[in-house]
Subunit: 147 residues, 2 copies
Amino acid sequence: MAGLYLEDFVVGARFTSGAHTLDADQIRAFARQFDPQPFHLDEETAKDTFFGGLAASGWHTAAITMSLLVQSAPVAGGLIGAGADIAWPRPTRPGDELHLEGEVLAVTPSRSKPDRGVVTIRCETRNQRGEVVQTMTCPLLVWRKPA
Amino acid sequence: MAGLYLEDFVVGARFTSGAHTLDADQIRAFARQFDPQPFHLDEETAKDTFFGGLAASGWHTAAITMSLLVQSAPVAGGLIGAGADIAWPRPTRPGDELHLEGEVLAVTPSRSKPDRGVVTIRCETRNQRGEVVQTMTCPLLVWRKPA
């Protein structure tokens, strides 16, 4: 398996992803399938809601973040997450160019399984103005280098 | 606004959603766009991975959970979440029929804004065998009934 093993991760290491530009069509397409609410579907109706205009579903922001993470964190055997703690401090809007800034928070070898460990990363998803639209902390299963 | 207001939520109240049946095409389509990793894209390649076969992206399970939540929790003004704490205890597979079992954990009126509060819900997404494929705790912004 090509890619990064547990031994390759260092607490405090940072990484940055490429960018993804979001438009209204993408926002509406995701929303129709998974989050069909007025503020994710229609610009006019969205004006009279909490968001004051069209905004992406938080789950859409999360999914785009995953696509950026897959591109920027080449873990051997793939990115396998057991869960995530997410916050969306501000909405993602049509025209936003998103990128990911990641940091390794912890590297924890498994006590019971000598072939693996957990790498906990914190990811900030930022728009083109540097504003954070999502924070996410997630533990990833990472393999140790084969002996 | 039609739907539920803060006063309509009671701690301990439970709700159940309808079902969504997932197939391999849906799993691959989501993965191609947001999580293009072998275990989400190709049945044969997936056999030699941690998952031992095709599995849905966790973010796909989360997005389907949102669609079930939109159908089953008609909050006035829409479902507006500030974040979520998610875990995926087991994979979602092709053919799985998912549904949501929700419970109200807390109802907290805002101290500073008299028109709103936060309803914290815990959602379990289960497959056709009753096995939990995702747990999620999330605080939702909910409006108080207009005077």
